[in-house]
Amino acid sequence: MTDDRRARPPRARDAAAGHLPRILALPAILGLALLVVPLGGLVARADWSRLWVDVSAPAARDALVLSLVTGAIATAVCLALGVPLALLIARSRSWIAAVLRVLVTVPLVLPPMVGGVALLLLFGRTGPVGGWLNGAGLALPFTAAAVVIAQVFVALPFLVLAVEASVRSIGVDYERTAASLGAGRWHVLWRVTLPLAAPGLVAGVVLCFARAIGEFGATALFAGNSPGVTQTMPLAIYTAFNGSGVDQGPAVALSLLLLVTAVAVLLLVRGWRPGSVR
């Protein structure tokens, strides 16, 4: 896919790229363009004079911090719950795995708003879990915790499916080797399975984090749109969008802020960074 005929420094290079049809570069670039050009248009239309004002407003800052903090916590929770779930699915017999995979996939399909309703019905004052929590003096909805739950609900499937595919691809041979060298189950998990699943894990974390900080519908319903408490960036963008009428200046400005921050965070994730392992 790269040009093999270009002169290179006189060092042996594995002729790896050469094994795939070069014409695939065409649809690849088309796909990339479809993703990138609209964003470029957005940037081009941005009102740079007002951008800084919009971006530096305290509400924007609050929303950004809230988004990052809840997104990070949600990603951590997704890792804690999703990686075990992915391992469970990857190592189950095929029909159990199929059922579990469908169960995990279903929430993906649900419009997030309906997910929010579902969460509200479950954790709300009158819901089974919510009522019980209420009794214990804990109210989840309309708090930052609700934001995290909503984000976990929508983002978890992404992590699980990405990690599961990766763990499945690895197979059990390396785990066996480790076990026969005396490694216990935890040692195998930390030192063998997870490092080998790194590409899938990184992909899963990125999908999960991106989905979490981009989450809008479920959060809006379950956590509410309370500035400073539950108003994440997408909600702020939505509010700005609705409040601003025609010129989407503030909404676009906030979107760009979210994008730039997300890129910065992604570049910090190992593997999304230049020089990472191949």
Binding site: T126, P141, F142, A220, L221, G224, Q231, N242, G245, V246
Partner: protein, 226 residues
């Protein structure tokens, strides 16, 4: 005169369309009663807010975009008062490329029209207005909120649409008065919740918003008097 509220925090849930007005009213209210801290306005679609209130959202005041939604949460509130009214206008892109002048033009096949979905308040009002005028429109899209209609007209995607006067004022579209629009009036009710954590301030805020100061702010933003 009612006793001035002791102070404390106040949470206002306001439909997206009145949220900017509520923001300004809240500032004026805080200036009047320095002890009261009006939290940033929580805004969303009326239905979303209603659902949240039903599930125990900790609000003091609820300002809805239509009376039907207020009726939905009737068990949760004290008697509502009408805060403001709004009427529809024809919105066209700057320059009015399709030359739309009156409601009848919306029926022209060469005019791309977008309206609000009938399920949302502005859509219901649009339907009533068009019915009354006897104009049959085939809209290209039934938007979920006014923002969708305004955006599509502003970027020139649609040639015309019906939006509230207040929305047309805020944006980059040209408003054209529609005949008979004043017959179809949308009322914005405001109410205090029974479970309000700060009932005194809530009552005071509702009265303040519906009172002269509030009405002045609303009028400035294009709302009509009740």
């Amino acid at each position: 005169a009612p006793a001035a509220p002791e102070g404390g925090a106040l949470t206002v849930y306001a439909a997206a369309s009145v949220a900017p007005a509520m923001e300004e009213i809240a500032q004026a209210f805080e200036a009047r009663y320095p002890g009261v801290d009006v939290r940033p306005i929580v805004s969303d679609g009326s239905q979303v807010l209603a659902t949240q209130l039903e599930e125990g959202a900790p609000a003091d005041v609820f300002a809805s975009a239509d009376e039907a939604t207020m009726a939905r949460v009737a068990p949760l509130i004290h008697d509502p008062a009408v805060l403001a009214t709004n009427t529809l206008v024809l919105a066209v892109p700057p320059g009015n490329p399709a030359g739309v002048q009156a409601l009848e033009d919306l029926a022209r096949p060469d005019v791309t029209v977008v309206l609000c979905a009938e399920d949302v308040p502005c859509g219901a009002a649009s339907a009533r207005l068009l019915d009354a005028a006897g104009v049959a429109v085939e809209p290209a899209s039934l938007e979920q909120n006014v923002g969708g209609v305004v955006t599509k007209i502003a970027v020139g995607e649609a040639d015309a649409g019906l939006v509230y006067r207040t929305d047309a004022l805020r944006g980059d579209v040209v408003a054209i008065e529609a005949d008979g629009a004043d017959e179809v009036v949308n009322r914005y009710p405001i109410a205090v919740l029974r479970a309000a954590p700060n009932p005194e301030a809530a009552r005071e805020f509702a009265e303040f918003a519906a009172g002269p100061e509030g009405r002045a702010i609303l009028a400035e933003l294009g709302f009509g008097a009740p």
